[in-house]
């Protein structure tokens, strides 16, 4: 893909190519502070953030930014690792508007803070839900199963 050379010239040495197929490019960056700079570069080739898949490899969390466009079937997957100690990353909502709800979902289910997000609230779960359920350390016990959100007494 053409985009790879552009990205390589933007950041030197920090970029690792994991997989390269005709329609699929998987890259990984080590420094999470570069995400915004890269997103501006990616915006020239790709139209939308297709999906944002977070994977819990505790204590590291891997963010898979999946980009797509409307011209062809090309997919770019950008992997970024963040650690539990510094559990935040820059939001790319101002660059890709379609990232808005995907980042809210990642905040909801994993608790990742997106710096600069315009409206970082829970999206799928109620506001007062305890914890972030897609993390591997989330225990599904009776307290969760019987959770109503209201102070009901029977």
């Amino acid at each position: 893909m053409v985009i790879l050379d552009k990205l390589k010239s933007t950041i030197k040495g920090d970029l690792e190519v994991i997989d390269s197929e005709p329609d699929l490019l998987v890259i990984k960056i080590k420094n999470k502070k570069l995400i915004k700079k890269l997103a501006w570069q990616i915006k020239e080739e790709f139209d939308i953030l297709y999906s944002l898949a977070v994977v819990d490899y505790s204590p590291d969390f891997e963010l898979n930014y999946i980009f797509s466009n409307y011209k062809n079937a090309e997919i770019l997957i950008l992997k970024v690792n963040i650690t539990e100690k510094d559990f935040a990353i820059d939001s790319i909502t101002d660059i890709f508007n379609s990232a808005n709800w995907e980042e809210r979902e990642a905040y909801d289910l994993f608790g990742i803070k997106f710096n600069g997000h315009p409206d970082l609230r829970r999206i799928l779960l109620p506001e007062d839900w305890p914890g972030h359920p897609l993390r591997k350390d989330f225990k599904v016990d009776d307290e969760i199963r019987n959770w109503t959100g209201l102070d009901l007494k029977f």
Partner: protein, 366 residues
Amino acid sequence: MGKEKIMRLNFGPVHPAMHGVLKVILDVKGDTVIKAQTEIGFLHRASEKIAEMRYFSNYYPIMDKLDYVSALNMEILYASVVEKAANIEIPPRAVYIRTIMAEIQRIMSHLIFIGSFGEDIGNMTGFIWALRERELLMNIVEKVSGGRLAPMYICNGGMFYDFPQGIEEEILKVLSVIENKVNHEYNAMFTKNQIFLSRTKGIGIITTDMIKKYGITGPIARASGINRDLRKVSPYLAYDKVDFDIPTEKEGDTYSRFVVRIREVLESIKIIRQCIKDLPAGPYKTVVPWIIRIPKKDTLVKQESPRGEMGVFLVTDGSDKPYRLKLRSPTFFAIHALQELLVNIKIADIFVIVASIDPVMGEVDR
């Protein structure tokens, strides 16, 4: 009239005119909407969490209930991602049967859309008619799989049963009935109906820029002039062996979203006829063990569901269960656009615009 007060109106999550459990909070002045906020999550059933607790073969019933209007498309999508990750080849007969069933399900889903869209603008007859045609296809799905709404027909490596004897002729007979009804009755009831036209034309316009801003795909994008269909762009199943067109419209209003789906029904009929003509003989499944282990890798599969591009990102770690399963649902992105789409319109048009998005909340909330 003096100064008009701004009133806050809760539309949904339980409202007779709302599709599923979508909630829209509207600020209205007179009967003009000035601000709209959408709230989702009322049907969240933790599908992604359940995936981490089940064997690969035991997740099909959950996929059925994601987009419950097009359950077979969801099953085929999940089967494709597991088979791609585990390197399972499926026989050509299974590929063709899956294509036929996916298109039958697409027609059924679009018929539900046509009916409920008609009902939302007061055309109850259209709803009854569309469900009448859907029932014919429902019967076929029942004969093939044993189930109706949630068929549980697809499994790893193919499907549970072969086509029953003589089902091909029956499908062709039903298709000609539906084609006839769509071409004649539906045109009279919808696309040549003056009331329908004045309710839908020029309302809820989604521009090409908005499509790209919100990441909308599928029939909604095609109604706004974007010629993109994954069945053509990156063909899967048997779509590269059949001949069909992608219907597109330029206006991007509710009417063109309706017309695109009507024309897609006719294209699907074309695809099924060609597939039945070329349906190869041979085995209908590759026998694979119920419990399989998939080595550590990431797999992404995207397919064209009736509502747009549905994707699954599967992360495996060598065990017999998924490590992480991320579902990319098309309507999740389309619902996001409602906050811009519902501004500066009359209250009476909200129903038409929400219905034209064709949301199925099971897939949005996951």
